[in-house]
């Protein structure tokens, strides 16, 4: 555990140096402990793969008090068990018409598209971080055999719901945006809906399983092509 100064109203808590389920569980547990320890002095938390950015109100408290309380809260966390998080199932229509890079990615991995789909849908992922854009959840880890570098030239327009791979991470694009990840399918579930409560179906620490669906089912669930 390391605690660093990150600004006039921020401390950065490092809980590991790699992305792993064990570190993610520590991040989750640390968030809860810090929330309890800081109460109203806490403004926001940004959990990520192996760190938590702690933002406090510098007119109510200071870095020394926050640092002290965070260290104490996190020290008692030592033997936290891997909290499992909720399991969220997201349907995906895997097909060349829904994922422009599916065939190319399979070919490069020496697999058939079906084998690639089995590997992608056969892995349970964890939500490591949310950022980049509202509702963009970084899921890991993708099976090594289908990990893929980002595109050399990002696309100017990736459709909403695109399911994509970059390195050993996968994600569902919450809205139309530019993007350099490899597209393999589309998910009809809205990942970010400002009018819904909650606005996102997943939170950091949750588990995600992709469920392959066919074209008809994808469209019936509200998917667009």
């Amino acid at each position: 555990m390391e605690l660093h100064s990150a600004g006039e109203n921020a401390l950065m808590l490092y809980l590991g140096d790699n992305a792993s389920p064990a570190v993610a569980a520590r991040v989750q547990a640390a968030c809860k402990a810090v929330e309890t320890a800081l109460g109203d002095h806490l403004v926001d938390l940004v959990p990520s793969y192996a760190s938590v950015l702690i933002l406090y109100d510098p007119l109510l408290t200071d870095h020394l008090s926050v640092g002290h309380r965070v260290r104490r809260a996190v020290a008692n966390l030592a033997d936290v068990s891997d909290s499992q998080g909720r399991l969220v199932v997201l349907p995906v229509y895997y097909a060349p018409e829904a994922g422009a890079d599916l065939e190319m990615l399979a070919q490069r991995a020496g697999l058939t598209p079906e084998q690639l789909i089995d590997l992608h849908a056969g892995t349970e992922y964890r939500v490591y971080a949310i950022g980049f854009a509202p509702g963009f959840a970084y899921l890991g880890q993708v099976d090594e055999r289908i990990a893929a570098a980002r595109l050399a030239t990002p696309r100017l327009r990736v459709p909403r719901g695109a399911v994509a791979i970059a390195d050993r991470q996968t994600a569902v694009y919450p809205a139309v945006s530019p993007g350099g990840w490899n597209l393999i399918g589309r998910c009809p579930t809205r990942m970010f809906d400002p009018t819904a409560t909650p606005a996102m179906p997943v939170a950091v620490g949750d588990r995600v399983q992709f469920e392959p669906v066919d074209r008809a089912r994808y469209l019936a669930l509200g998917g667009e092509l």
């Binding site: 100064s5 990150a6 006039e8 007119l59 950022g131």
Partner: protein, 312 residues
Amino acid sequence: MTLEVIQPGILSLLQDRGRFGRHRIGLTNGGPLDPHAFAWCNRLLDNDPNATVVEVSFGGARFRSRVDTFVCVTGATMPLRINNRELPRWAVHPVAAGDEISLDFADSGCRAYLGVADGFSVAPSFGSTATVMREAIGGLCGDKLRAGDLLTCAAVAQRKRHYLHPASQPRYQDRVTVRVIPGYQQARFSRLQQRRFFSHAYTVSERSDRMGYRLEGPAIHCDIGGILSEGICAGAVQIPADGQPIVLLNDRQTIGGYPKIGSALSLDTARLAQLRPGGIVHFAPVSPHGAHNALHLAHSQALRQPMLEHHL
């Protein structure tokens, strides 16, 4: 009852203090780039400190009042005219239905705040009216103001004619010193690179915006190319592969994987955001203690600064 946008200028955005506590779904803060000028706008108007105002960048904006109320403009020195008559900024003025309010291009500074008595009435998204165009959230439909937009506000018959003494008004220079608390991946920058960062002048790039101010100058080398993505706070100074610093501001992404050398004080990012492209920036290191002290001093000074009143 509304204020009509006749001409939005280059970039005009509805802003309250910003959106807080929503980083966990990926939403950034938004809010005024110059919180000091924003706060004075609402204070002079006797508004709630979180009331919604219009942040006008660079200038060139015109509005028509369709209501009797009071307005106030603070921030960059954009000549303020009401029905073509130039009036002082940092002061509350009455407007009547039909009056035209214009903010010309700024002589100095870059961001001005146009407020009305009781603020603009905007439905909040995720607890705030702050417009973040990248997220398409806040303001009117998550977008900048366009000609023809109608900004709802109340008819107000009475308001004190507060003004801030000219000697108390900020002077916006084309050169600022930004104090930085070293932190984050500071240890990944050699002593030589840190000294280079703190001893040279940087120039504000044309590609600066509400996400971040990009600077041009001596490249800063970091021992690592990237890091495991982590949270980014307002003011973080990111050093990408080309070594040119980016000071991340209100509309920044909430997480990222570039190394950071430290984090700028909000008092100074307010001044930084008043610079236009070509402006000069110097960085100075400050301890967390020093930063805390500076913040509290500025806060108590602002509370003690007297508002004067025109009695007409």
